[in-house]
């Protein structure tokens, strides 16, 4: 589902214009982004948790050239799905 589709569906459901939906969506994302930058985690009940994680430096080996490099530490965004979603996902049948 692309951005456009998402906006379209939301506009329909809320009875707002697509433009409004687009704006509000953008604002929402910027709020989430700035909070993540500030190392704050965002917990949406039933959906999931957005948080930042620090990853320490590590040595990695390039598979073909066999060159070893030292990868510096970095901060990453991590998402942990909420319980209801996890439950729903369990119900999805997988083809074995």
């Amino acid at each position: 589902m692309t951005n456009q589709e998402l906006i379209a569906v939301l506009a329909k459901r809320l009875n707002w214009t697509k433009r409004q939906v687009g704006e509000v969506l953008e604002d929402t994302l910027s709020i989430v982004k700035s909070n993540l930058e500030d190392n704050n985690s965002i917990n949406i009940q039933g959906f999931g948790l957005f948080e930042t994680k620090k990853k320490g430096e590590r040595i990695s080996v390039h598979p073909t050239t066999k060159k070893r490099s030292l990868i510096p530490p970095k901060i990453t965004v991590s998402f942990r799905p909420g319980q209801s979603i996890k439950e729903n996902l369990k119900r999805i049948k997988t083809d074995e």
């Binding site: 965002i42 917990n43 620090k54 990853k55 990868i71």
Partner: protein, 415 residues
Amino acid sequence: MNERLTLQDLIDLLAEKQGRTKKDAESFLRELFAVITENIENNESVKIKDFGTFKLVKVNARKSVDVNTGESIEIPSHYKLSFIPDKSLKEAVNRPFAHFESVLLEDGVTFEKNVEEELESVDVEEYEIEIDEIESIENNEINPFLAESSPKNATEESDEEIDQTVKDDQLEQEDTNNFFSQSENEAIGNENNVSLNEEKESVPNTIDDNEEVPTKNYLTYSSVDDEEMDMDDGSYIYKEGFDKKWTIIVVILIAILSFVAGYFYSSSTISHSSDNESTLLEDDSAMLYQEEDTLSTPIEEQLMATAKDTLDKNIDQPANVKDVSDKPSTSDKVKKVKLKQGRTMRMMGLEYYGNKSFWVYIYEENKSKIPNPNSIPLGTELIIPPASKYGIDANDPKSVEKAISIEQGIFKKFK
């Protein structure tokens, strides 16, 4: 920082930002997540521009153990929801660490401890403090190791070469504390003694020096010829368990030695200001130099490599004086220097002007060639201006202060 925001907080923030009612904000957010959830459950990925992609990932069945009964059970294959952040989000979040880059490692560097950790929601400051702690511990770890290697060298080689190997180990030790590539050690260790003498004084110095050099090395790394590499048993291995007692002894000895060194430093500055005649200064500096030499040999025996740091600082001062009085001619010449690997402008400032801080004038002279003083490409030709051009005088504290203030200005611009 480290706050946990809830949906309510998000609603409030959104309502404020958009100027809408809280009700509107709430309904929007609920719908948003509902739509995402529905799509996910239909196994359709949701891509949000400048944010990221939510999609399902299949997880294969695996055998596991039931926590209560202890009998083996199978966790069936299922899907899990994964979120992959967009590039802009990744970069924004990683901003505190943005200036780090990967560094190629040469053979011979080993880290016994695998340094891969995930720290959850730790303050950046905390993390930096942790790095400092690890560094200081590793500093002391290396000491017992150096203790083992040096006596072996002493029996085999002459005094001069002891200097060289201790310097090598010393340099290596300093380097391992930062994100250095191994090649820098070897490159420095393999240059001839003459230049090494002066470099040695500047390298094991303040942290500022080390900050400048490591970032440069990230970008200017080029593979070093294998033949050039002369790996001592200075292939250092971090040992997980280090002797705490040893570190305490080392720390106490360092403290004592630094007091002694400080005493010499103060006495040199006193003689400095009292008499302006160069001959007298020369005498004093020669005396001090000698005294420092006698100190340095017992030190080598005691293998206090880190103590040498403070001593080297001391050697700086009389060396400055000596340089100026011995070679007045260098200040008049204009030189062109090609940047070799591992060279910093600070080292050059020390070499040509007698004080590390005068690198700022080298930078000024070559501003057109140097977009960022923290990282200069190898082989750049730098013009060393004559000292008189910028009023560089290592003996004049005002000149030094001026250079330092210029230095601060440059740091603010580029850090």
